[in-house]
């Protein structure tokens, strides 16, 4: 009790005197950085997920072959959810004598619930997002449709018994998919007019969908409520299932963000550790005095703990406010770029940020604070009496545990945790050894240099272990800064490269066998490479190992759906570049024996299929049996035509086959496509550009978020460097005063100090560059599955940044010490 009261009283005094400011600043910065990073990752993570949801134009979609009954609409309303209805069906659209098959999408007022439809005022015109839906009597038509029927904006099209004026060219809708259901170009119209068109009647192929969106929790509650009650003919699709590609992008974005959060965390940890060390050192004299005046160990330790606690709480409070304000500011800046509102993150990041900082404080500051109790009271008479250093095992274990616990929370992936911690330990160990090596080397080098250099180098080598510790701190700081700048850019570029440069931007589907040569000819005449054609055969799965697909039980509903729906089969002699065998073996070249099948990894696991299972398909009145010979992983980012099930050559001979193809066509060759659509009206052209743009949008958001978050990690990194220099400031003040008293010019002293910083910075830079290169290679290849290319710039930047950053922060931190009037320092030393 006495100790608590004393601690409370003296905390205020010590805070006022500035003794605690450095540690308090480190804690506040840590909380601010972690809170802001948490807020941003949370919010932007949600925004990315929301964009991925656009693939459905909703959070949830109920789809059926018959109108979705009102009870589900009412249930959604009861869950406070927004709804919209869509109908889609194929129909021939006429313009004068020209006509073409179109996929009609009839929508109600709120469509789309997520994302926005984009239109242009003319063919290939500039597109913009639009609110609302086509008015009655109007339609928005896909450019491909208009090209095929020779129409343009303002022309009137006949759709069934309706006459609709083309109000705009449809360039993008969130739910356009490359699924084979929507082969024909789209025409969007108002759903109120469907009845008047006379197109929908008994036996028409209409797909009805009820779109649902709203608050995350409400959507989840609604999803849970409908899950068991929905009749078989209505199928729910939620965001997770909606798009593999958008999700793999969203997943990577989250990894980038959590990587950044981890770096902010590490830098905060180093800053707290260093300032806690300095704080404990500065307290040593006070503790010795208190003990000489009769304070017991328990009293000393209680006071330290209470003060540490108050400091933690105060730091958490200040940091939360700063973090919250900074996040608000950044979110406001980002709002324009992120197209609209960012979802609210809630209070969770504040709690996590404060909790993390307190864990760091305990892990890094507690051991030295506890060891203060053993400060010998004799120190009041003999200045060199020191408390025994805290047990290295204890310090190591506590700080490692603190970092590991927090890392695991942000990473949530044991493999990444191991890579991170392993990298940190290896680099810290290497830096420490190299620091000691440098110290020894400089000790020998100093006889051959001028006085300033000798003083600087002597300092490095005299401080021995301290110099090595500083090299570790600077080195770690620079490592993460390198990771965040160069490596992040490299990774993002690498990632985008897998999508951009060679990725196809158009799909051609429904190419008849006899059209292949003519289509290929069109390309070669336009100086383009003739595309490859991939066969497609429509089939239905009848049985698995002789058991009817209807009776069989499946690991999950996706598997059941896969087995029961109409399947798109293909055959191939060679494995596609974008595929990788994960189990079994691809058939040998020239194989033409009994039919074999290769199935996609996730589909196999959903449907409970393994190597050796025999699949029976019904194709055009005939049965085909194929044994599963291999399981494949598909790289969906490749935008190549890919199939869940591929059969061996010959298995589907003589079956009705169409071909599909993908290719990259730059903007200047786009007219070729209009030509192609006119000559081969049955062939459908799907523009992937819009879909690529959607994926790129997600990536841009993610990288923008990383850059915004980077501001905080940079601040934390600079705090580390300052803490490192600050920890030697008292010593430097005294030394500099002494040298100047002995007649050294201020410039000489300064040159010496700068030499010391430059030597430390160069050592840290060299090692940080090596560390960052290794970590970058690991992160790129193991986590992001991207090829790693060595970037020599890392070395220039690392060493340059090391010298520059250490010298600049050293300059500002040591300036006061060098400029202090010698007599004040020398006389003022005892207090």
């Amino acid at each position: 009790m006495k100790a608590i009261l004393f601690a409370l009283r003296s905390f205020g005094r010590e805070l006022r005197s500035g003794e605690m400011i450095v540690l308090l600043a480190a804690v506040s910065l840590a909380v601010a950085a972690l809170t802001a990073v948490g807020f941003l990752t949370d919010r932007i993570g949600k925004a990315v997920a929301r964009q991925a949801n656009e693939v459905l134009a909703a959070d949830l979609r109920l789809r059926s072959q018959a109108p979705v009954p009102d009870e589900w609409r009412e249930l959604a309303a009861a869950h406070a959810l927004e709804t919209a209805d869509t109908m889609s069906f194929p129909s021939v659209v006429f313009h004068g004598d020209d006509n073409a098959l179109s996929s009609i999408l009839a929508v109600t007022d709120n469509y789309p619930l997520r994302g926005a439809v984009r239109t242009a005022g003319a063919m290939f015109g500039e597109q913009r997002a639009v609110d609302g839906i086509p008015a009655r009597g109007e339609a928005w038509a896909d450019g491909a449709l208009l090209a095929r029927i020779g129409a343009d904006v303002g022309d009137v099209l006949e759709v069934g018994e309706l006459r609709l004026r083309v109000a705009a060219v449809l360039t993008y809708r969130p739910d356009q998919s490359i699924g084979f259901a929507s082969l024909a170009p789209t025409l969007i119209m108002n759903r109120d007019e469907v009845a008047a068109s006379g197109l929908v009647g008994e036996g028409s192929r209409v797909r009805y969908a009820l779109l649902v969106a709203g608050d995350e929790a409400d959507v989840a509650a609604f999803n849970a409520a409908v899950a068991d009650q929905l009749p078989d003919e209505i199928r729910v699709r939620s965001q997770e299932e909606s798009s593999e590609r958008a999700y793999s992008a969203a997943d990577r974005a989250q990894r980038f963000l959590s990587l950044t959060a981890v770096i902010a965390l590490l830098l905060s940890a180093v800053a707290i550790a260093m300032s806690a060390r300095r704080f404990a050192q500065r307290r040593m004299d006070t503790v010795a005095l208190m003990k000489s005046l009769g304070a017991t160990q328990r009293f000393v330790i209680s006071v330290s703990l209470v003060q540490l606690l108050i400091l933690g709480i105060l730091g958490a409070a200040i940091g939360s406010v700063v973090g919250f304000a900074a996040e608000e500011l950044i979110a406001r800046i980002l709002a324009d770029l992120l197209a609209g509102d960012l979802p609210d993150a809630g209070l969770r990041p504040v709690i996590l940020g404060c909790g993390s900082a307190l864990v760091l404080l305990v892990g890094f500051a507690l051991p030295s604070m506890i060891e203060l109790r053993n400060t010998p009271p004799l120190r009041v008479l003999r200045y060199d009496e020191m408390p025994p250093a805290p047990s290295r095992v204890l310090v190591g274990a506590l700080s490692l545990a603190a970092v590991a616990a927090l890392l695991y929370r942000s990473v949530g992936d044991p493999r990444m945790l191991v890579i991170m911690i392993g990298g940190i330990i290896v680099i810290a160990g290497a830096l420490y050894l190299a620091g000691r090596g440098l110290v020894a080397l400089l000790g020998r080098a100093r006889s051959g240099v001028g006085v300033a250099w000798r003083y600087g180098l002597a300092n490095v080598s005299r401080r021995g272990r301290d110099s090595a510790v500083q090299v570790v701190a600077f080195g770690l700081g620079i490592t993460v800064l390198l990771l965040l700048t160069l490596v992040r850019t490299d990774l993002l570029e690498g990632w985008r490269a897998t999508l951009d440069d060679k990725a196809p931007n158009h799909f051609l589907i429904n190419i008849q066998p006899h059209e292949r040569d003519a289509v290929a000819g069109l390309f070669t005449q336009n100086d383009l490479e003739a595309p490859a054609f991939t066969p497609l055969v429509r089939a239905r799965m009848l049985a698995i190992n002789g058991e009817s697909v209807k009776e069989r039980s499946y690991p999950n509903r996706d598997g059941e759906w896969l087995a029961n729906r109409e399947a798109n089969l293909s055959w191939a002699a060679a494995l596609s570049d974008s595929n990788e065998i994960v189990d079994g073996a691809w058939w040998p070249a020239g194989y033409s024996g009994t039919p074999l099948a290769s199935i996609e990894e996730e589909a196999a696991s959903n449907a409970g299929l393994t190597i050796g299972d025999v699949l029976t398909f019904f194709v055009a009145g005939r049965e085909v049996e194929a044994e599963i010979a291999s399981i494949r992983k598909i790289n969906w980012d490749s935008f190549q035509p890919n199939f869940f099930i591929v059969l061996s050559p010959g298995a589907l001979d003589g079956m009705p086959t169409t071909f599909i193809s993908s290719m990259r066509i730059e903007a200047d060759k786009q007219p070729l496509l209009i030509d192609l659509m006119r000559r081969h009206p049955a062939v459908s052209v799907i523009d992937l550009g819009a879909i690529l743009e959607q994926v790129r949008g997600i990536i841009d958001k993610a990288s923008l978020a990383v850059q915004a978050v980077f501001v905080f990690t940079l601040a934390a990194g600079i705090a580390v460097l300052f803490a490192a220099v600050q920890s030697t400031i008292d010593e430097r003040r005294f030394e500099s005063a002494m040298l100047r008293a002995l007649g050294a010019r201020r410039r000489t002293v300064f040159a010496g100090v700068m030499t010391e910083f430059a030597a430390l910075g160069a050592a840290a830079g060299v090692l940080a560059s090596a560390g960052a290169s290794v970590l970058a290679a690991l992160v790129a290849t193991r986590l992001f599955e991207l090829p790693y290319t060595f970037n020599p710039l890392i070395w220039f930047a690392g060493v340059g940044a090391g010298i520059l950053v250490v010298c600049i922060s050293g300059f500002f931190a040591a300036r006061g010490a060098v400029n202090a009037v010698p007599v004040d320092v020398l006389r003022g030393l005892p207090t």
Binding site: L289, G294, T296, G828, P830, T831
Partner: protein, 228 residues
């Protein structure tokens, strides 16, 4: 007169690269309550080591110290700390004020450590007594050397200790300030009947004490108050 401090055959050895080094060698004496004692001798004679042992800041290799009837060697570090809190005051050559605390707060420190109920009132009165009424809220960095030592003296007397140890209290002061400080210490010593143990180089200063103990190379070579 009752003896308040007894040194019984004190020896202190430390290990050094050249082997064991004897700093104090078989030193014994008794000090009466209320007396003022000077410990003199050249540098390295063992004066500060003796002071540390007498105050329980360190333990002897052999022998023991009795402070007001308590054998310090039988206590652990916390036990010795409690004895110091109750019975000992210090004045150091380099003042040892807590830089984070102002003058008044520095004087309050030992009172607060001892759980004194009216620490602020007692400290205020003694700060005024040493002539620093105008400087109460100044921090050590804002005080001159002499003022710092006055704060240190006020702090030492605040708890009315049985024994006051002073280690070269004028060592960092000019001669005039040093004389003023010593006058203040002797005045307070007489007024509060405190036993004063003063380590000094200054023979003139030593002459003003009741008794002078002279150390050389760890041995007690003369004792002006020794019986006979």
């Amino acid at each position: 007169m009752k003896s308040v401090l007894r040194a019984h055959r004190l020896s202190k050895e430390v290990s050094s690269p050249e082997g064991s080094l004897t700093i104090l060698d078989d030193v014994s004496f008794d000090i009466d309550a209320g007396a003022s004692i000077a410990v003199v001798g050249p540098s390295g004679a063992g004066k500060s080591t003796l002071l540390a042992l007498l105050a329980g800041l360190d333990l002897p290799t052999r022998g023991h110290v009795e402070l007001d009837g308590t054998n310090l060697s039988e206590l652990d570090e916390d036990g010795r700390a409690l004895v110091r809190a109750e019975k000992v005051g210090f004045v150091f050559q380099s003042f040892h004020l807590v830089p984070a605390l102002n003058a008044l707060e520095n004087v309050m420190l030992p009172l607060e450590l001892a759980g004194h109920a009216s620490a602020r009132r007692v400290a205020t009165s003694i700060v005024d007594e040493v002539g620093l009424a105008e400087r109460r809220s100044h921090y050590p960095a804002q005080l001159s050397g002499g003022e710092k030592q006055r704060v240190a003296i006020a702090r030492a007397f605040a708890t009315e200790p049985a024994v006051l140890f002073a280690d070269e209290p004028t060592g960092n002061l000019d001669s005039r300030t040093g004389a003023n400080i010593m006058q203040l210490m002797f005045d307070l010593n007489r007024a509060s009947r405190t036993t004063l143990v003063l380590v000094t180089h200054d023979l003139a200063l030593a002459e003003r004490c009741d008794r002078v103990l002279e150390l050389d190379v760890g041995r007690l070579v003369s004792d002006s108050g020794a019986p006979g």
